[in-house]
C-alpha cells in the first residue's frame, strides 16, 4: 500500500521552531494529528499542502517528491483549511465550479457532474444555488470538504474541521469524512480528542513542533495505563477533592459521585485502577 512518508521535516519562523524533525508514515484511511493550540499542527498542514517550504527534511508519496514537484503534489491534494470563507458573492455550486477550473478539470460536463455528486454527498444540493456568504458555519465546512474532494484527490488535508460547529453538524461532518476516506489518505488535524476517536484509525500527537506517531488509538490510550483511577465518593467529598486531585471527569449517581482521577499512584484505598480512554492517554502524553 502506498504511504505518505514524512521524513525529519523541520520548519522555523525566526527563532521559533514550529516543526522539529517530524517523521511520520501515513497509510490509507483517516489519520489524526492531535495537539494543543500552537503545537504546530497548522504549520504542518501548510507544509503538507506545499504552501510552506520546510527548512529541512523531505516528504514523498509514490514517486512524488514534495520539495521537487510541488505542482504534482497539488494535483493529488485536496485541502480544507481551518476557515473556509472564500467566494462569498457566488453560490456554492459556482464556487465549486470555479475551484474545479483552478484544479484543472477542463471538461465542463464532467466537472458539473462531479460537482452535483459532491453536493449531494455533503448534503448541500438544496442550498447549492444560495450565496456561500449566507451559509452557516457547518454548511461552509461541508462545502469546504466538497471542494477538497473535487478532482478525486489521493490525499486530503483537513485542518480543525469541527471547531465551532454545533454537535449535530459535527456528527454530520465526521460522517462525511468517514464516507470519503476509503481508498485515500485523509490527514485530520484537531485539538478535539472526540473527533479523532470518532473517525481515525491511527494518530500522531504533536507538541511544541515535536510529533509522536501511534499505530492505533489504543496505543495512545495506553500511555495512561496505571494512571487512571475510579473513585466513588460522597457528593460533599467530591467538591472538596476537585482542588486536591486531578479529576478528569465525574458522574453523579443517586447517592455518590464517581470521579475519574489521573494520578501516578492510587489517590485513596477506595480508588480502583481502570482502563484509560484516548483522552486520558493524550492528557498524560501532553503533561510530559
Amino acid at each position: 500500500m502506498d504511504r505518505l512518508v514524512i521524513d525529519h521535516v523541520s520548519k522555523h519562523f525566526g527563532k521559533t521552531a514550529a516543526l522539529q524533525s517530524v517523521s511520520l508514515q501515513i497509510g490509507h484511511g483517516l489519520f489524526g494529528l492531535l495537539g494543543p493550540n500552537g503545537a504546530g499542527k497548522t504549520t504542518f498542514m501548510r507544509v503538507l499542502a506545499t504552501l510552506l517550504a520546510p527548512d529541512s527534511g523531505s516528504m514523498r508519496y509514490k514517486d512524488i517528491q514534495w520539495g521537487k514537484q510541488p505542482e504534482r503534489v497539488r494535483n493529488i491534494l485536496g485541502y480544507l483549511p481551518q476557515n473556509f470563507n472564500v467566494f462569498k458573492n457566488i453560490s456554492g455550486y459556482e464556487c465549486l465550479d470555479y475551484i474545479g477550473v483552478l484544479k484543472g478539470l477542463r471538461d465542463k460536463k464532467q466537472r458539473r457532474a462531479q460537482i452535483e455528486t459532491l453536493l449531494e454527498r455533503v448534503n448541500l444540493t438544496a442550498e447549492a444555488h444560495k450565496k456561500t456568504g449566507h451559509y452557516s458555519g457547518g454548511m461552509k465546512r461541508r462545502l469546504g470538504i466538497a471542494q477538497a474532494l473535487l478532482g478525486n484527490p489521493e490525499i486530503i488535508i483537513v485542518d480543525e474541521p469541527t471547531a465551532g460547529l454545533d454537535p449535530e453538524e459535527r456528527i454530520r461532518f465526521r460522517n462525511v469524512l468517514r464516507e470519503v476516506a476509503a481508498g485515500r489518505i485523509i490527514v485530520l488535524s484537531t485539538h478535539i480528542v472526540e473527533d479523532i476517536e470518532a473517525t481515525c484509525s491511527s494518530v500522531a500527537v504533536i507538541k511544541k513542533g515535536i510529533a509522536t506517531q501511534f499505530d492505533s488509538l489504543s496505543k495512545l490510550a495506553q500511555e495512561a495505563a496505571g494512571h487512571v483511577w475510579l473513585w466513588k465518593v460522597r457528593p460533599e467529598q467530591a467538591v472538596d477533592l476537585q482542588s486536591k486531585v486531578n479529576v478528569i471527569s465525574s458522574t453523579t449517581t443517586e447517592d455518590h459521585v464517581e470521579l475519574r482521577v489521573l494520578a501516578k499512584e492510587s489517590p485513596s484505598r477506595e480508588a480502583i485502577p481502570v482502563s484509560p480512554t484516548l483522552e486520558e492517554g493524550y492528557l498524560i502524553w501532553n503533561q510530559r
Binding site: L77, P81, F84, V86, N89, I90, E94, L102, L105, G144
Partner: protein, 226 residues
C-alpha cells in the same frame, strides 16, 4: 485528475466581485450622462474634446482599480485563502492574464462610451491613435498594474482603495508635478509641460514593470499566505 489548467470564466470572476463590478460601470455611465447633458448645445468645438476627456476620464480611468482589487480578494485577503493557494492553478492564467482580461473589458466599455460622446457632441471628429487611444488605454493599464501590485503587497482591499484614492487625488491636485512624466491623467487633465508621447512610453514601461513584479509576487505562495 487532468493536469492542464485554464483561466476561470470571466462570468464567474464578475459574479464573484458582487456589487464592486457595477460601481465603476455606473460611475462611467453617470459621467457619460453628465457630459452628454451638460455639453449638449455647446458650440465650443475647439475645446469640446478637452471637456469630454476631462469630465468623462478623470473618474473613469482610476476606477479600473476597483475591478482589479476585487479580482484578487479571495487569493490574498479572505480567511481560508490557503484553500485556493493550495490549488494546482496556473499562476500566469490566474494572475496577469486575469488582470489583462479585466482591463481589456474595462477599456472596451470605456471606449464605447467615449466614442458615443465624441459622435454625439463632436460629430465629424476623427480619433487620433496616440492621443485618443494609446494614452487612455495605457492610463487604464497603469492603474490596473498598480492595483495588482498593491493588492499583492498590502493584501488588504480597503487599504488599497485608500492608497489609490489618495494617489489619484494627489496627481489631480498637483497636475502631475513631481511625477517625471508618470502621469496617468495626461489624457484627461493634461500637464502642458509634458510631451504626450513621452508620457505614453513612461506609462507603458511602468505598467509592464508593475505587472511583472506583481506576477512574481503572485507566484510566491508563501508570501501570499502571510
Amino acid at each position: 485528475m487532468e493536469s492542464k489548467v485554464k483561466m476561470p470564466s470571466l462570468r464567474l470572476d464578475i459574479r464573484n466581485m458582487g456589487g464592486l463590478f457595477y460601481l465603476p460601470f455606473i460611475m462611467m455611465l453617470i459621467s457619460a450622462a453628465y457630459v452628454t447633458i451638460h455639453y449638449s448645445g455647446y458650440n465650443d468645438n475647439q475645446n469640446m474634446l478637452k471637456y469630454i476627456r476631462h469630465d468623462f476620464g478623470v473618474l473613469s480611468i482610476p476606477l479600473v482599480s476597483i475591478w482589479i482589487i476585487g479580482l484578487f480578494q479571495d487569493f490574498v485577503e479572505t480567511k481560508g485563502k490557503e484553500a485556493i493557494l493550495a490549488l494546482p492553478y496556473s499562476s500566469t492564467h490566474s494572475g496577469i492574464m486575469r488582470v489583462l482580461r479585466m482591463s481589456l473589458l474595462y477599456v472596451v466599455i470605456f471606449f464605447i462610451l467615449f466614442v458615443f460622446l465624441v459622435i454625439r457632441l463632436l460629430p465629424g471628429h476623427q480619433l487620433i491613435l496616440l492621443s485618443d487611444i494609446c494614452l487612455p488605454v495605457l492610463s487604464v493599464l497603469y492603474f490596473a498594474a498598480l492595483s495588482f501590485l498593491l493588492m499583492m503587497i498590502v493584501k488588504n482591499s480597503i487599504v488599497c482603495y485608500i492608497i489609490i484614492g489618495v494617489y489619484s487625488i494627489f496627481l489631480y491636485m498637483t497636475r502631475g508635478a513631481f511625477t517625471f512624466g508618470l502621469y496617468p491623467f495626461q489624457w484627461c487633465f493634461p500637464q502642458p509641460n509634458f510631451d504626450e508621447l513621452r508620457c505614453t512610453v513612461i506609462l507603458l514601461i511602468a505598467s509592464v514593470i508593475g505587472l511583472y513584479i506583481s506576477q512574481k509576487i503572485f507566484q510566491n505562495k508563501e508570501f501570499l499566505l502571510k
